[in-house]
């Protein structure tokens, strides 16, 4: 399988990364090379094989559903590019 420039632009849009036409053309070539490389997997017989979901055989650890932390609004917003009264500020999303 290979991708064309329109597909690359669509994927970039899905990934929320702005790319111009030149970048999309360059990326198309590079992505196709990588997709060509992974195509070797078609040689492998995977009939009846379960996908690996965890390398270590263990049941998922569970914890008590309790409050263990909190009251850290200052910390949470300390690194925000824009914040006000412990809210993250973003461009208007609803008219």
């Amino acid at each position: 399988m290979s991708v064309d420039t329109d597909t690359v632009k669509r994927v970039a849009r899905l990934a929320r990364i702005k790319i111009n036409d030149d970048q999309a053309a360059k990326m198309t070539g590079e992505l196709n090379e990588i997709l060509g490389f992974v195509e070797q997997l078609d040689e492998v017989d995977i009939d009846g094989i379960e996908p690996l979901t965890s390398v270590v055989e263990q049941t998922m650890k569970k914890r008590q559903d309790g409050v263990t932390d909190g009251d850290k609004a200052d910390d949470v917003t300390a690194n925000a590019p824009a914040s006000e009264d412990h809210f993250f500020m973003v461009p208007k999303v609803v008219e």
């Binding site: 899905l14 992974v38 492998v44 995977i46 996908p51 690996l52 910390d75 917003t77 300390a78 590019p81």
Partner: protein, 491 residues
Amino acid sequence: MTDLTKLTIAEAREGLKSKTFTSLELTEAFLANIERANAALNAYVVVTDDKARDMAKASDEKLAKGEGGALEGIPLGIKDLFATKGIHTQACSHILDGFQPPYESTVTSNLWADGAVMLGKLNMDEFAMGSSNETSYYGNVINPWRKKGSNTDLVPGGSSGGSAAAVAGRLCMGATATDTGGSIRQPAAFTGTVGIKPTYGRCSRWGIVAFASSLDQAGPIAHTVRDSAILLKSMASVDARDTTSVDIAVPDYEAAIGQSVKGLKIGIPREYQVDGMPDEINALWQQGIDWLRTAGAEIVEISLPHTKYALPAYYIVAPAEASSNLARYDGVRYGLRVPGKDIVDMYENTRAAGFGEEVKRRILIGTYVLSAGYYDAYYLKAQKVRTLIKRDFDLAWANGVDAILTPATPNAAFAPGEITDPVQMYLNDIFTVTVNMAGLPGISVPAGLNSEGLPLGLQLIGKPFDEATLFKVGQVIEDAAGRFEPEQWWG
């Protein structure tokens, strides 16, 4: 006075205990080396000299009273991927511009609790994506090693290139690193240092910037097998804050060092004999086999038939997980923000300006293979192949193999700009990536120099949570091969 920066951690530990020197003296010696060398090597992105002196003084007070932890007063460098409270933590990416976490990663907390001293944050490939440390926003790291008689700079490997270069260049006693596809072992091999990626689940991932969560593991880079055992003992823990942290007590790895390897079964996988591999890599591998046989180990040929599919499967799984993990960098909660005409435009501008080319490439690949209609063809298939890769190793262990010996890399260090093709660069991890796919521990130990005088490493792969055997066998290689020092041309 002896050069304190030439000591191993084990030697410095004795010197501090016997009060031959203080942690402050030791720390100052490293800060002086960093001051002299960092302009040439670019291993540190931030030097925390005041903090280092404060920590060293606190250690000296404890040591004076005969107290202190296992790493009391030992100066270390920390990869920029580990969250360090109030200190530059940016995964060497522009998108985390200015980020200073209000918390500390579990691994670094463990080190400070044991008395270690932080010298600063180490350069790395952006978000740990790279094999040459050429993708960092903070510029290339330069390998302390050069070819004999050459003035040409070489890469230190990646992604933990700053960690490896800082250790090899004597800018710290040891360093934290992380390994998703070979990012500890490949730079260790390129710089004549020892690097171990422990079993998945051995070190907590809490507070480590995520790349590919099912593959990422932290581990140390150090001068000797013993030093790496000392560091791993401290870094590893059982942590409730990481659900994949495995509930097994951390053993005393140092106790394994010096133990006999007599009767151990060492597997030699024929599939690691790849086309076009330089003769000297083959010769090194054979040398390693001979050393272990002489030490009494039993050498057996084994087959890991799905080896060649590990790298292509990795380049589906890792970008897929990365595209999901890196979705959080959107200019809202931390780091860089580039304004736009609306919120989506702001996201797109921020991510376009904040991520480098390699990171963008991987996000796009990951987004594509996870997108509607392609999931089964790519991601699901890769995860099935991963089952087969793990099964190959399980069969070897079931047949009584105790550890597997392979070359660490298919070549020695190369020059910056020498490899520009992404897939060609990915091939650097051909021997290391299988280990991440199967979640196993792997150690790279320096084993010799090539004809141009550059270090080469051998890799040992172990059973899950059997790091002790890797230290035991690794020490035999180190004893036979000796240790390797670059000739100082910098600073």
